[in-house]
């Protein structure tokens, strides 16, 4: 195989348990995002746009959707003769096999794969962040500093710094201390979980770490602190721009809503740094004479007969007459009937909502595995649920639990506030 200067490994095996029913059947990187994408599209497109053409994707938790989505990587132009995208699940070895025990262990178990390209540098990425970043600039930084390790960091508001892994650096950007969620942060540079390692050095540390029975085999907890202790040259590369870890229902919802700003920080329309995705091959969207849509993203194959305000609608969604959708995310191929009210909700793929249903956080008396209201009041309905309606009461047919729907007045008030009253 031809030697590569730098190859990337994407950590995509995590469950993302804080996303609850959103990740019940699929891994976090496969969660739909932004009306057309899946979360992993961002990191894969970044690789392609940065000129990194050899990418390993480490999968473990519920990989079916992710596997079939990535395929041979043609959507990201990563179907290459030399290099390309590789799906790397854990596998059985001569002396048995085991699951990936941690981020570092996942890389350890794929040393052979990485060695086959004999790279100078290894780029470690997370499959669950929303951002656009040119990794080649980070690599240039790494080389110019003569670093052993470079960690990408982003400035976060001081008030939030204690929620992140914080890096303390000197004037030369050299890291002298890690602090995990410090109560009194000394800096507001948060680690983005993006690392460039000199491969030879990392390999030695991985092999050593594997022997350590007390290690949790994690980059943040074990490998990086060990390297710092050994006085390795570790630098922080400061990233400027939009970056979001969509690890919770609230942050996922917020990142979607961020796209609806007049001039969003994350520009999807920039043709110089396109975000690629698998094309659903659907006809154009149709807005009927009764449709009213504002401050929203709508994708291919949708039919809109109702009112959509400040929402993200994925491809192939049908929205019936007199239906009002506000502050919500409707994932692919959901079918929303007539006279439905949806406020601040995430409706997963293929959900069917019958005529007259009302989905708002006030209806918190639904008890069903497929329905969840998070602490910030976002309703989530899991994929392929059928919500049927009987006399203004909604029934979750999968569990046959009923709940009373609240009247339309609160929604109307909200619509007025948003300036989009349906006619």
């Amino acid at each position: 195989m031809v030697k590569k200067e730098c190859i990337a490994m994407i950590l995509a095996g995590g469950q993302g348990s804080r996303l609850g029913i959103l990740t019940q059947k699929l891994a976090k990187p496969a969660v739909p995002f932004g009306g057309k994408y899946r979360i992993i599209d961002f990191v894969l497109s970044n690789c392609q746009n940065s000129g990194i053409d050899t990418v390993g994707v480490l999968t473990q938790y519920q990989p079916l959707t992710l596997n079939s989505y990535i395929g041979i990587g043609s959507a990201w132009d990563l179907d290459r003769k030399n290099g390309g995208v590789f799906l790397l699940p854990p596998y059985v070895k001569k002396k048995g096999g085991e699951w990936y025990k941690g981020t570092a262990n996942a890389i350890f178990q794929n040393i052979e794969f990485i060695d086959s390209y004999a790279p100078e540098y290894l780029l470690i990425l997370s499959g669950d962040h929303i951002y656009k970043m040119d990794y080649s600039k980070m690599l240039d930084f790494h080389k110019s500093k003569g670093a052993d390790v470079t960690i990408a960091v982003i400035r976060v508001p001081w008030s939030e710094a204690s929620r992140f892994g914080i890096l303390n650096v000197d004037d030369e950007d050299r890291i002298y201390e890690f602090e995990e969620k410090p109560k009194k942060p000394k800096s507001n540079l948060a680690s983005m979980g993006i690392y460039v390692f000199n491969w030879k050095l990392l390999k030695a540390y991985l092999q050593e770490d594997e022997q350590d029975a007390n290690s949790s085999h994690d980059f943040g907890k074990d490998i990086n602190p060990k390297m710092l202790k050994d006085n390795c040259k570790m630098y922080a590369y400061q990233f400027e721009g939009y970056w979001k870890d969509v690890g919770t229902v609230e942050s996922l919802w917020q990142a979607n809503m961020d796209l609806l700003e007049d001039a969003p920080q994350l520009d999807l329309y920039d043709t110089d740094w396109p975000i690629y995705s698998v094309n659903p091959n659907q006809p154009p969207q149709y807005l009927s004479p009764k449709a009213k849509v504002s401050r929203s993203l709508i994708s291919e194959g949708c039919v809109v007969n109702g009112t959509v305000v400040h929402s993200v609608i994925f491809s192939g969604v049908y929205i019936g007459e007199d239906t009002v959708i506000i502050d919500s995310i409707i994932m692919p191929n959901a079918r929303i009937g007539k006279d439905v009210k949806i406020n601040k909700a995430i409706i997963c793929e293929g959900v069917e909502v019958a005529d007259g249903c009302c989905i708002t956080s006030e209806n918190s008396n639904i008890r069903c595995e497929q329905y969840h209201v998070d602490e910030t009041g976002i309703c989530v309905i899991g994929s392929n649920v059928e919500l049927s309606n009987a006399l203004k009461e909604c029934v979750l047919s999968s569990r046959e639990r009923e709940f009373k729907s609240r009247d339309f007045e609160t929604l109307k008030a909200m619509l007025l506030r948003l300036g989009g009253l349906p006619t």
Binding site: L260, L268, S277, P283, P284, L287, S288, K292, L297, S299
Partner: protein
């Protein structure tokens, strides 16, 4: 499933032009329906019918067509065996040329193809149909040539079947392309309501035979020379198709058939049944509706940014509609920009047109105004 037919899309017809829209491209490459080109419908129908070997004969300005099709990947036609073959043909110096000449120049392609039958389609058809059913019909009747036609309620133009026997055999056909108003008389007394759809099934060996004989006699046209002149010698059968199928042959028709897509029944039948229509992938984000957007009864492609009013219109990919702009009864092609307070009504704007602030562009509904590619107004 493999089917025993190859497909040939015949774009070698100098007469097939649409004023203003075919300056840069063959008719088959004219954008249609928000995100497609006209050829996508026949090409996807062929692919969905199981045809895996498709040859395209193009003679006019082929750049845009080849850019659109490239390897055929988006139609699953990038194959090791069979796949997509594009033949760029040129008429001879003295202007003689045509389908049969081009076929004879590329006979190796036909010889090397393994399939026994050929489905020939013209490049102006909007449809979503199953060619396998037509092939079945052809082989069951043991026909030499099958002509697909559509029955209209009134007289039509183009190629028509004028006489049909009870068992579906074609006795007589006419090409009315150059005849604007057929006068009822001894010859034109018959019904002119059965329009040939531009889809034919023929065995490969007969096609080669016809092509060689016609070229030897100095004729090049499949329909006029190969088919109509030999009706008495061949078993030509008709296949009536009742689904949505239209032939684009004028700006007026082009406009009307685009607007047809606003009908939900046509939208559904054309885009989903029996298969999906494929086109070149462009990786655009979803369309963004801004605060002042007011879009009604319109078809919108992805990657548009809309902050104005759009009514009864067709918007292609990456169209920008600024605040205060109004688009009504119009077809707006890719990357066109309508600036603040500009008004366009009953127009067809080709790709990359810019209508600057406050300008007004108003055509007539039965005579839409066509603005050429890249024009700034």
């Amino acid at each position: 499933m493999n089917i025993n037919a190859m497909g040939i899309i015949n774009l070698a017809d100098k007469n097939k032009i649409l004023k203003g829209l075919t300056v840069h491209r063959p008719l088959a490459a004219v954008p249609f329906g928000c995100r497609y080109r006209i050829i996508d419908f026949v090409l996807s129908s062929m692919v969905n019918s199981g045809i895996k070997n498709i040859g395209i004969f193009v003679e006019r300005k082929s750049r845009s067509l080849i850019d659109h099709l490239y390897s055929g990947k988006d139609w699953d036609l990038d194959r090791k065996r069979d796949g997509l073959f594009i033949f760029q043909c040129n008429s001879s110096e003295n202007g003689y040329g045509g389908f049969f000449k081009y076929l004879c120049e590329n006979l190796d392609y036909l010889y090397k193809s393994k399939q026994e039958y050929v489905v020939i389609a013209e490049g102006n058809i909007i449809c979503n149909l199953n060619f396998a059913e037509i092939l079945d019909h052809h082989t069951k009747l043991n026909a030499d040539i099958t002509v697909v036609y559509k029955k209209y309620n009134s007289n039509v133009s183009g190629v028509v079947i004028t006489e049909l026997s009870d068992n579906g055999k074609v006795i007589d056909m006419l090409d009315l392309e150059r005849i604007l108003e057929p006068k009822a008389g001894r010859l034109f007394s018959r019904n002119l309501d059965k329009k040939a759809a531009g889809i034919y099934v023929i065995s490969k060996s007969l096609l080669i035979d016809l092509a060689q004989i016609c070229v030897a006699k100095g004729y090049y046209d499949f329909v006029k020379d190969g088919l109509i002149k030999n009706l008495s010698k061949l078993n030509v059968y008709a296949y009536r198709y009742d689904g949505y199928l239209v032939n684009i042959d004028s700006i007026k028709n082009y406009y009307r058939y685009n607007m047809d897509l606003l009908n939900q029944d046509i939208w559904k039948s054309l885009f989903f049944e029996p298969g999906l229509i494929y086109t070149k992938i462009q990786d655009g984000p979803p369309t963004k509706y801004m605060k002042n957007s007011d879009v009604k009864d319109s078809l919108i492609a992805n990657a548009c940014i809309i902050d104005g009013v759009v009514e009864n219109s067709i918007l292609f990919r990456r169209v920008k509609v600024h605040k205060g702009a109004l688009i009504k009864n119009s077809i707006i092609m890719q990357k066109t920009e309508i600036e603040q307070n500009a008004i366009v009504e009953n127009v067809i704007l080709d790709k990359e047109v810019k209508v600057t602030k406050g300008k007004k562009l108003i055509g007539e509904k039965n005579y839409p105004l066509v603005v050429g590619k890249g024009t700034v107004i």
